[in-house]
C-alpha cells in the first residue's frame, strides 16, 4: 500500500474543514443513492410489479366469475389492485430505512455537517417514483386483460394524483416502521400486517357482503375512501365525500408518521 500524502501541518490549519452543505445538496445526493439502490435491486422491483399482477389475474380469472358472473369484475377489482401494488411497493422502504439505521452508515452521515434526515427523504422520493412506475405497469396489464375505464384525461390525472398521495402516505408510514424496527427482518415483518388492510376494505368485494362487525371496520378504515375515490375517477361510480375523506386520511397519516419518524430518528442517534 502506498503511503498517504495528506498535506503536512494539518494541525494548525483551520482551513482543513468539511464544508457545510447548503440548500438541498444532501437531499440530491441521497436521492441519487436511493435511485441506484432501486435500479440494482431488480428482485424488489420485479416483486412490486409481479405480485399485484398475479393477484389481479387470479381475481379476474379464478374468483372473478364466482364473485360477478356478468364478467365485469375486472373493472371492480383493478382500483383495489392498484392500491395493493402501491402499498406493497412502499413496504420495501421500511427495509431500506432499517438497513441504513442498523448498519454503521447512519453514524457516518450523522457525524457530518449536513441534515442527516435527508437520507430518509432520498428513500421516500425514490419510493414514490418507483411505485408510480410499478402502478403504471399494472394498469397497463389491466387494460390488456379487459379493464375498461371511463375516465377523461383530467380524471386520469386526478386518479394518478390520488395514487401518488396514497403511495406517499404508505411510504412515510413504512419509513417510520423502518426506524422503529430493531432489524430489517423485523421491519419487513411489521410492514406485512399493514398490507392486509386492503382486503378488509371495498377493494375486492363490496363492503355490504361482509359480516356486520367487519363492515363497520371496512367502512371506516382509511383505504376504503381512497379506493372509492379512484374507482369513481376511473369508472364513474358515485364519489360522494370519499375524496375528502381520502385526502384527509392521507394527510393526517403522513403528518403522524413524519412526526413519529422524526422523533425516532433523533432518539436513535448514537445507539445502534
Amino acid at each position: 500500500m502506498t503511503t498517504l500524502t495528506a498535506p503536512p501541518a494539518v494541525v494548525a490549519r483551520d482551513d482543513l474543514r468539511r464544508p457545510r452543505l447548503r440548500g438541498f445538496a444532501a437531499e440530491r445526493v441521497f436521492v441519487t443513492r436511493s435511485f441506484i439502490h432501486t435500479i440494482r435491486d431488480v428482485d424488489t422491483m420485479m416483486m412490486a410489479v409481479l405480485l399485484p399482477t398475479m393477484l389481479m389475474l387470479m381475481f379476474t380469472y379464478i374468483f372473478g366469475n364466482a364473485i360477478d358472473p356478468s364478467g365485469g369484475y375486472v373493472d371492480y377489482v383493478v382500483p383495489g389492485i392498484i392500491l395493493l401494488c402501491a402499498g406493497f411497493g412502499a413496504s420495501s422502504t421500511a427495509i431500506s430505512v432499517s438497513r441504513d439505521m442498523t448498519t454503521g452508515i447512519i453514524d457516518r452521515f450523522r457525524t457530518m455537517p449536513l441534515r442527516s434526515g435527508a437520507v430518509l427523504t432520498g428513500h421516500v422520493a425514490v419510493s414514490l417514483v418507483r411505485n408510480l412506475v410499478a402502478t403504471a405497469i399494472v394498469i397497463g396489464v389491466a387494460l390488456l386483460v379487459g379493464f375498461r375505464p371511463s375516465a377523461t384525461p383530467l380524471e386520469w390525472v386526478a386518479a394518478f394524483g390520488m395514487v401518488a398521495l396514497y403511495i406517499l402516505t404508505m411510504t412515510y408510514l413504512f419509513a417510520a416502521i423502518g426506524l422503529a424496527a430493531p432489524s430489517p427482518e423485523a421491519a419487513s415483518g411489521y410492514g406485512f400486517i399493514l398490507l392486509f388492510l386492503p382486503y378488509v376494505s371495498s377493494a375486492f368485494v363490496p363492503v355490504d357482503t361482509m359480516p356486520e362487525w367487519l363492515q363497520w371496520i371496512a367502512e371506516n378504515q382509511p383505504i376504503t375512501p381512497v379506493i372509492e375515490t379512484i374507482r369513481s375517477l376511473l369508472m364513474g361510480t358515485p364519489q360522494g365525500d370519499s375524496g375528502w375523506w381520502a385526502v384527509g386520511w392521507c394527510v393526517a397519516i403522513i403528518a403522524i408518521a413524519a412526526a413519529w419518524g422524526a422523533w425516532l430518528f433523533r432518539r436513535k442517534a448514537g445507539r445502534r
Binding site: M1, V11, R17, R18, G104, R108, G270, R271
Partner: protein, 310 residues
C-alpha cells in the same frame, strides 16, 4: 499546546448502568491517542459523545476548542469517524461510495470523482473499485471505510476498533496507513482491545476502567507502573504454565523463583524459566483487576495466577 480533544468529567448512563463516570481526556493536536479497555468499558460511548452522535449526561467535551453539545456543526466540520460497524453502502461500488462521500463533503462532481480515483489507488482497491461491496473481504471493507473518512482531509480522526476482526496482514496494512496519517499531522483518537495495537501506534495510551481513566501515559510509562520484570514458566512445548510479576529487586526475583519451586512440588512440570519486561498486557491486567478480553484464550488460562504488584 493546542488540545485536539479536551473532555472533562464526562458522564453517561444507560438506564441504571453507569457507563462513564467522570471521564477526563486531553489529547494534544497532532498526536495518536489510544483508548484501551475491555468489552463494554465505554469506549464506543466515549467516541459517540466526542463525535456528536450521543449526548453526555454531564461534563463537557471540546474538539479543537468547539463544544460538542453546543456547536455540533463546527465539530462535524473538523472530524471524521470510522466506526466499529463498517459504515459503507453495500449496494454501491467502492468508487460510488467514495464519490457519494465526496459530494456529501461539498466537492463538485468532478472533484469527487478525481478524489475517489486517488483514494482507490492509495488504498489498494483498484482491482475491485467497480464491484459492489458484497464480494469484498473484511480487510478491503475496512480500508474503504477508512478511505471514506479521508475524502476531505480533516484535522481529527476517530477510529473505533479499526482492526477488530482483521487478519494479521490486513491489520498491518491498516497500521501503516494510520501511521502515515499521523506523520502528516492528523490527530488520531483510536479505541482498541489489542494492546499491541496501542503499543505500536499510540503516542499516549489511556486505560478505561469503571467509566474512568484508570491510567494514562506513554506505553513505557504505563509499563513502568507495573513494576519490575515478569518471571515466566513454560513446559517443554513452550506452553505458559505460570507467570509471576516481580518488583524488579533481587529479593522479588528470588521470591518468584521460590514460588515456582513450590508449584513444582505440586506437580507443575516446568522446563523453561524466562524473565521478561512487563508487557502492556500486564499493565492492563494490573489496572483493570484481571478483567480481560475473553477472546484472548491463550493467556486467559494463566490470568488467575497473576498478582498485581502496584
Amino acid at each position: 499546546m493546542q488540545l485536539a480533544i479536551d473532555a472533562r468529567g464526562l458522564r453517561k448512563a444507560f438506564g441504571r448502568t453507569e457507563v462513564l463516570a467522570g471521564l477526563d481526556l486531553a489529547v494534544p493536536a497532532g498526536s495518536v491517542f489510544a483508548l484501551l479497555g475491555p468489552n463494554g468499558a465505554g469506549k464506543t460511548t466515549t467516541i459517540n459523545i466526542l463525535t456528536t452522535l450521543a449526548k453526555s449526561d454531564g461534563g463537557t467535551a471540546r474538539i479543537l476548542g468547539h463544544d460538542v453539545a453546543r456547536e455540533p456543526g463546527e465539530v462535524q466540520q473538523r472530524i471524521a469517524l470510522t466506526g466499529q460497524a463498517a459504515a459503507v453502502d453495500e449496494a454501491l461500488t467502492a468508487r460510488e461510495n467514495l464519490v457519494m462521500m465526496g459530494r456529501l463533503s461539498g466537492l463538485s462532481r468532478r472533484d469527487a470523482r478525481r478524489r475517489a480515483a486517488e483514494l482507490v489507488a492509495r488504498f489498494d482497491l483498484e482491482r475491485a473499485a467497480d464491484r459492489r461491496l458484497g464480494t469484498y473481504s473484511g480487510g478491503m471493507r475496512r480500508r474503504l471505510d477508512l478511505a471514506l473518512s479521508l475524502v476531505v482531509p480533516v484535522p481529527v480522526l476517530f477510529l473505533d476498533e479499526p482492526t477488530t476482526g482483521l487478519d494479521t496482514r490486513s491489520r498491518q496494512d491498516l497500521w501503516a496507513v494510520i501511521r502515515s496519517l499521523a506523520e502528516a499531522g492528523t490527530t488520531i483518537f483510536l479505541t482498541t482491545q489489542y494492546l499491541e495495537e496501542a503499543d505500536r501506534l499510540a503516542d499516549r495510551i489511556a486505560v478505561l476502567d469503571g467509566g474512568r481513566i484508570a491510567a494514562e501515559g506513554t506505553a513505557d510509562e504505563l509499563k513502568a507502573r507495573v513494576g519490575g520484570d515478569v518471571v515466566e514458566l513454560r513446559d517443554a512445548d513452550g506452553v505458559l504454565l505460570r507467570e509471576l510479576p516481580t518488583d524488579g529487586s533481587v529479593h522479588g526475583l528470588r521470591a518468584a523463583i521460590d514460588e515456582l519451586d513450590r508449584s513444582a512440588h505440586d506437580g507443575v512440570d516446568g522446563r523453561q524459566v524466562t524473565i521478561r519486561r512487563p508487557s502492556l498486557d500486564d499493565v492492563f491486567l494490573a489496572i483493570t483487576g484481571g478483567d480481560r478480553d475473553p477472546r484472548d484464550a491463550d493467556r486467559e488460562a494463566s490470568a488467575p495466577e497473576l498478582i498485581a504488584t502496584n
